[in-house]
Amino acid sequence: MAAVSAAVSDCSPSFPSLTPPCPKAPPDYPDLYGKRRELLKVQVLEREIGFLQEELKSVEDLQPASRGCKEVHDFVMPNPDPFIPRGLKTRRSHGFWNWLCGKCCFNCSWLCCFGGCSLHLEKTSCCNCRASVKWQCCCCLKKKSCQHCCILPALACTDCHPCNGCTSCCTGCKKVCHCSNCTKACCNPCHLCC
């Protein structure tokens, strides 16, 4: 600062010497933001204390956990479950079968061809089975023994525009193919290039 003052005075003796700038310290504003934040935090905690005290009182009147465990048990036991194998009596099996038959898609008989006919009905054969066991025909296409039973729609990739010479990029194809086993790059949503 002194050197600057001296230099200024040496170079321009006709100008009065200037006092170098001396920035002032910032004024002591109250830290309102910090105070409000702190107050808010305290209020949240005090509210939480109130909730916890209420909960402590209510716990005094609570039933033990065994009551809830019994309710879970009593709810679960009588309910049939599509995933759980059970030996079914005739009357109940028709009800269960009807429940499965209600879910039909494509108006075709989705027959039980996984691992051969996995549903053994005494009175009907696999091919006469009308039940739409909808999930069990996953390998019908592969099993010759199932082909005369499994009626699957014969779909072809007619909805897809062929990708001329393109194996990975389908700039022209906007359609989503409806063939379940279509492997054409153009027939699946074109992620790589489109």
Binding site: K35, E38, V42, Q43, V44, L45, E48, I49, F51, L52, E55, V59, L62, P64, A65, S66, G68, C69, K70, E71, V72, H73, F75, V76, M77, N79, D81, P82, F83, I84, P85, G87, L88, T90, S93, W99, L100, K103, C105, F106, W110, F114, G115, S118, H120, E122, W135, Q136, C137, C138, K174, V176, C177, H178, C179, S180, N188, P189, H191, L192
Partner: protein, 376 residues
């Protein structure tokens, strides 16, 4: 009052809160006279037994070119919507494996998707902090893409999970990294209620999952990185009805039990738990000992009877738990044709006859009962 005095009050209040929580924990422990497995054993129950081909993978849905993060079934007609790291939603006909829609998203970083109850719209959300709604019956734009019909903006963090209120196509609940859940009116794109946040008593970390009670759609439960699950009443946004402690890590997934009075949780601590909504009791812990690193729970779903709990893990396992006996009765991850990567999401079809799983291996798989039934 000065800031220093407020800070002292803050410290004192924190100590009081911790002391009260400890008292509450001890009182609850005294009420845990048994768990579900203990009660079931006392009734002479035995675990469900599966044969090697009882549950099979009967469909593999291929088409995503990135990790699958989320899936949801329609309430009818067996369609599935899936969301992937490839920035697309795909709508599948699960019976035929056909894709009916492939929706390119405005923001590729999607984390969740959901079908509307009528099956005509899908919602999704992710790192853009927006929940986008697509009407599946809308015409495509000139580029062949389905356009967004509504954008639900308001979250200040990523949208981690979304679910339509059952039987209400106009209401949807989202959870977010901003520590809140929001109930939306989809028609007007307005926020009807915000659950949690800075002042209201809510989660203190990212909320990762929501599940709405199918028996009482005014109630929903949320799971969070603050290691708690919270029960909410949509009519009372100011505070959670109850907070459920127990987990020792992020609660990444929550799902209501079929009876509507209990719900399950899954966590990064590797366990699942069953809580009673009305009493707050932890009724059961589903935990398997592991050598080495404990796999994280990523997703859960109950079978329609409640007897089975399907749990997806970060190591690709998909355990089927007997909920009554707290035993693992099957691992779908060890079956033929299982996923080759982390299971990120799973869900039951509306009729409960099939389970769909989604994975980092880019595929979705559908599992169903493939065993023998003998008609007597």
């Amino acid at each position: 009052m000065s800031v220093a005095e407020l800070k002292k009050r803050h410290i004192a209040a924190t100590a009081t809160v911790n002391a009260l929580r400890e008292q509450l924990k001890q009182k609850r422990i005294l009420l845990l006279d048994t768990d579900v497995a203990g009660y079931a054993r006392s009734q002479g129950r035995t675990p469900v037994s599966f044969g090697p081909t009882d549950l099979v993978c009967c469909r593999t849905l291929q088409g995503h070119t990135g990790k699958v993060y989320s899936l949801d079934w329609t309430s009818e007609k067996n369609r599935i919507v899936s969301a992937s790291q490839d920035g697309r939603l795909i709508v599948w006909n699960s019976l035929t494996s056909q894709k009916t829609h492939a929706i390119k998203l405005p923001c590729a970083w999607v984390m969740t998707c959901a079908f509307s109850p009528n099956g005509q719209s899908v919602a999704c959300g992710g790192l853009d902090s927006i929940c986008s709604i697509f009407n599946l019956n809308s015409p495509n734009d000139k580029d062949g893409n389905l356009t967004v019909s509504r954008m639900l903006s308001g979250h200040k963090g990523y949208v981690s999970s979304c679910q339509y209120v059952p039987d209400e196509d106009t209401h949807l609940i989202t959870s977010s990294g901003d520590q809140t859940c929001i109930l939306w009116d989809v028609t007007t794109a307005q926020r009807l209620s915000v659950f949690g946040g800075e002042f209201p008593s809510g989660h203190t970390a990212d909320v990762l999952s929501v599940s709405i009670n199918g028996s009482n759609s005014k109630m929903f439960v949320s799971g969070s990185c603050d290691a708690t699950a919270r029960l909410w009443d949509t009519r009372i946004a100011s505070r959670a009805v109850r907070t459920f402690h127990g987990h020792e890590g992020d609660v990444s997934t929550v799902k209501f039990f079929p009876d509507g009075y209990r719900f399950g949780t899954g966590s990064d601590d590797g366990t699942c738990r069953l809580f009673d909504m009305r009493t707050g009791h932890q009724l059961q812990v589903y935990h398997q000992q592991h050598d080495g690193e404990v796999p994280l729970v990523t997703s859960i779903a109950f079978s329609i009877s409640g007897r089975l709990l399907f749990v997806g893990y970060s190591n690709g396992d998909c355990y089927v738990w007997d909920t009554l006996m707290a035993k693992v009765v099957l691992n779908l991850g060890s079956l033929q044709n299982s996923h080759e990567g982390r299971i990120t999401c799973l869900g039951l079809s509306a009729d409960g006859s099939a389970l769909c799983t989604g994975s980092w291996d880019r595929n979705l798989k559908i599992w169903a009962f493939g065993g023998h039934r003998k008609v007597i």
